[in-house]
Assembly symmetry: C2
Homo-oligomer: 118 residues x 2
């Protein structure tokens, strides 16, 4: 049994701004999932697409661009034949560990709850 975080109007406004800021860069259906896929290992384009089930090449391509722009991902091109491109998480992406862990834990718990309700 967990106590409710006491929240004043001030704190509430601050939270709203902060959470808005966070969702602005990591919100959406795919960004966090791509980051999770990359946490396993540096990955190449098609590997990521196979790991993140359901994402199309077009959407993955644009998500990777945004993640690169926001400093979560580094793009490494190996100029061989065939050209191989690797995507690597930056150190800044590691700052998302708490967010990803809490979200994973909550998702796991929620799935259990739904299962037990059936």
């Amino acid at each position: 049994m967990q106590l409710k975080t006491p929240v004043t109007a001030q704190e509430c406004k601050g939270s709203l701004t902060a959470i808005g800021d966070a969702l602005y860069v990591i919100g959406g259906k795919w960004k966090l999932r791509v980051i999770v896929a990359l946490r396993e290992d540096n990955k190449r384009f098609n590997e990521i697409q196979r790991t993140v089930e359901g994402i199309s090449a077009r959407v993955l391509s644009s998500e990777l661009k945004e993640l690169e722009m926001n400093g979560f991902v580094k793009r490494i091109v190996h100029t061989q034949t065939p050209v191989v491109v690797e995507y690597e998480l930056t150190h800044y992406a590691d700052t998302l560990d708490d967010v990803l862990d809490s979200l994973r834990d909550w998702g796991t718990m929620h799935r259990e709850k739904l299962k037990s309700e059936r």
Copy 2:
């Protein structure tokens, strides 16, 4: 300096599923923000709309319905004139505390980082 969470292919797949489950019910632009607004206090419709800046009545209405369906929010109707409707977080919504806190902390940190880079 924080160590990178070691992630195996198995753990990665589990995380992807769990995070997918979480985003399915609390993903999108508004749901978490509505919950944050309600953490301050039970709120009436127009109060929530004023607190969560930028949300339209139409969208707030549908978000509240989904939040109610998923067990995060209780709708309480006071049959007076005028009819007053209050929205209250359920105990289940409290299980999101870790997610909300980590997201708020990360958002705050991120905003500071952007500020210092300007």
